[in-house]
């Protein structure tokens, strides 16, 4: 499970790599500047769609994994 601080670090790193200021990233994402500040500070209670907008601009994908899904994937590969 991703930690908020990890999320914060990933976003900051990608923002820096893209040479964007927080204000600029906020503007491009269509969210308020406070949100970027909050996210990079590790705030837990941001909303999923808000996070999505920011990640989208930075070209970061969210993926879900689980033992259950890994199993289903394996069964498909073994072409049962």
């Amino acid at each position: 499970m991703i930690q908020s601080q990890e999320l914060a670090d990933v976003i900051r790193m990608h923002r820096k790599a893209a040479k964007l200021s927080r204000d600029k990233l906020a503007e491009m994402s269509g969210v308020g500047k406070t949100v970027i500040y909050d996210i990079e500070k590790g705030k837990e209670t941001i909303q999923l769609d808000t996070l999505r907008k920011v990640l989208s601009v930075l070209n970061i994908k969210i993926e879900l994994t689980s033992p259950l899904m890994d199993n289903l994937q394996n069964m498909e590969n073994e072409k049962g």
Copy 2:
């Protein structure tokens, strides 16, 4: 980028596999029952920590991927 409906389906599938009712999952996750209903309905604006609690109970992980992170990973593997 994960769609809300995809998220909804993944959660429902895992909940069913665990033979949990929404009420029970809510209780185990420490969130209100309304949230599970909202998530499975594809609501966009749930909070990250709320989602985390639910995913944690269902043993689902969130992972972030990006071209930038893939590159860094490759460079490490090539032990430059």
